[in-house]
Amino acid sequence: MSEQSAPGADGSGRPSGRLLEVDDLRVEFRTRDGVAKVINGVTYHVDAGETLAVLGESGSGKSVTAQTIMGILDTPPGFVTGGQVRFHGKDMLKMSAEQRRRIRGEGIAMIFQDSLSALNPVFTVGFQIAEQFRIRRGLSRADAKKRAIEMLDQVKIPNAKGRFSNYPHQFSGGMRQRAMIAMSLALDPEVLIADEPTTALDVTVQAQIMDLLGELQRERQMGMILITHDLGVVADVADRIAVMYAGRIVEEADVYDLYGKPAHPYTLGLLNSIPRMDEKGQELRTIKGLPPNLMNIPSGCAFNPRCPMAQPVCREKVPPLLQLGSGRASACHFAEELVNRD
């Protein structure tokens, strides 16, 4: 904990304002069975020192958006068909492969869901962290090792020095995810994308990892994009939440607004489906129906077949993501009614 001390005390020289912006991004997957429109105009941003949670079911496009930002989308089948991803105002989708590579790790880093498969099984954890310092920073083996051990220390892995030469399978799930975090933070990135970082972990360990992530994010004043389908996870850590459905943002708000008064029926359904202690013995509430087939998205609002509030207009017109004031936005024809309902 040497160079990253008091949060934002010196401003750390980082430019304020829009750090990373995704603007009307469109991605489709071209498969033998047809074209799946996975991302249909996603717009969100994250600033330095802020955590944006991206919430959604599997298949809502939250991970694909992240992969597109990182430039690790599998092409084929994935193709970006429109929009921009701006980092410090520059569109990364127009950069050369080499420029994008340099941003990875140093500008934007990513941690993955399943740390066992995401770490290379045949190299030691220490090697995989030190590699960052050796290859990207040109440090000597000895110096890189020293820095890697410091990183392991920072993510609170006990006996970091001894653990350096262990292989990923010799770590427990939680420790492995910590090592993964250490690896992604090695080059001191400005934005960290955490793609379901706790999904593969035990509940008790989940909280520890989220705490660690929150702490490191504050210390380093990073912008963080936290991708999750777990409403419980985001409440403590996130500043803002973007809810995704069928490749679009359907609602964006800060945590208190969103939990207090959701402005989209889908968000409402998600919140209602959290099991509550005071409703013990009652049937769990769910959102009826299934997420849409992305090769054949319903006309109008994609959520209309499952929406309890659906009206004829919902089948005809795609609701735009409209600002509702106080920094929140919703893509529902009846957003005002929802917010203003008492």
Binding site: R101, L119, M183
Partner: protein
């Protein structure tokens, strides 16, 4: 690791005894008279046959013969041919030649097969991929002697780039064409296994992580991808050395190399059972040791494999 090694070496003992006995028994059961035609146009004198039968224990039953043979073998003595030549001598002159040829073949198939496999695995369905696919099919389908004679004719006779046959000095440059011929089929398999392995691992999570770390592509492929994809290839290569040595007979014939293939062939024709058995036994040893080496290499390549 040390205990594992000792256990594996001890396991070799029953396998060694079993295989050698089988070979001995097989060669022993081949019908025919070793002394037919030994003495020119006429039958050998009874005196000679009696003398030889006694000298080589030919009237004993197979177990006694095998036991005597193994007793001598353990003292490093492979015995003598019927003409009194030391079999140790034969082995010492023929084995190094075959070994050289097999090692050259192994090196060629490893380098070419692996390169082709990696390149095609990274870029599937391209021109190179189709080219390699078709040419490996050719190499697998064509018998060795066809490949051998065609290349010998092309390089040795038609273009005159190399001498058509290998001299007794066994120079490396002379062994390139025979080595290629000997290794050609295995090379095709190596290329295909490497291609599949690379293509499979290319989409794996850890490769995606390596890219997300911002590592240059050549490091992602050369370090992260290759190390994982090498495991099945190493198995194939390791067990192939024995097969190459045993299968060298045709290649040795085409290129006039004085190796074990020719020796075994000659010994079978002249019913020199002791020579056949001795050469094959050494081959069995090579197989067993290479298998052990491959198993040990596994652990070096994949730390998840632990021996206890």
């Amino acid at each position: 690791m040390g205990r594992y090694l000792v256990r594996r070496l001890l396991q070799l003992v029953p396998v060694f005894i079993g295989t050698t006995f089988l070979i001995y028994w097989l060669v022993w059961s081949v019908p025919g008279d070793p002394f037919a035609g030994k003495c020119g146009e006429r039958r050998c004198p009874q005196q000679y046959i009696d003398f030889m039968t006694d000298k080589y224990n030919l009237d004993q039953n197979i177990f006694v013969q095998y036991f005597t043979y193994m007793q001598n073998l353990l003292q490093g003595d492979f015995g003598e041919t019927f003409s009194g030549r030391s079999i140790n001598d034969i082995i010492l002159t023929s084995y190094p030649n075959t070994m050289k040829l097999a090692v050259v073949a192994l090196a060629i198939e490893a380098v070419i097969g692996l390169t082709a496999g990696v390149l095609t695995g990274l870029r599937r369905n391209g021109f190179l991929d189709n080219l390699v696919l078709v040419s490996t099919l050719f190499l697998i389908a064509l018998p060795v002697f066809v490949v051998g004679f065609v290349l010998q004719w092309l390089f040795g006779v038609q273009w005159g780039i190399v001498k058509p046959t290998v001299s007794s000095e066994m120079r490396f440059s002379e062994l390139i064409i025979p080595g290629f011929v000997l290794g050609s089929a295995s090379m095709a398999y190596i290329a295909r296994v490497a291609r599949t392995s690379i293509a499979e691992n290319r989409r794996s999570d850890y490769v995606r992580t390596a890219i997300a770390k911002g590592l240059p592509m050549r490091r992602v492929v050369g370090v992260h991808l290759l190390r994982n994809s090498l495991i099945p290839v190493v198995t194939l290569l390791g067990t192939d050395l024995g097969a190459l040595m045993g299968g060298a007979i045709v290649t040795e014939g085409i290129f006039q190399i004085n190796g074990i293939g020719r020796q075994v062939f000659r010994s079978i024709v002249t019913k020199e059972s002791a020579t056949v058995v001795s050469i094959v036994i050494v081959l069995v040893l090579v197989y067993l040791l290479m298998n052990l080496l491959v198993d040990l290499l596994y652990a070096a390549l994949d730390p998840r494999i632990r021996y206890e």
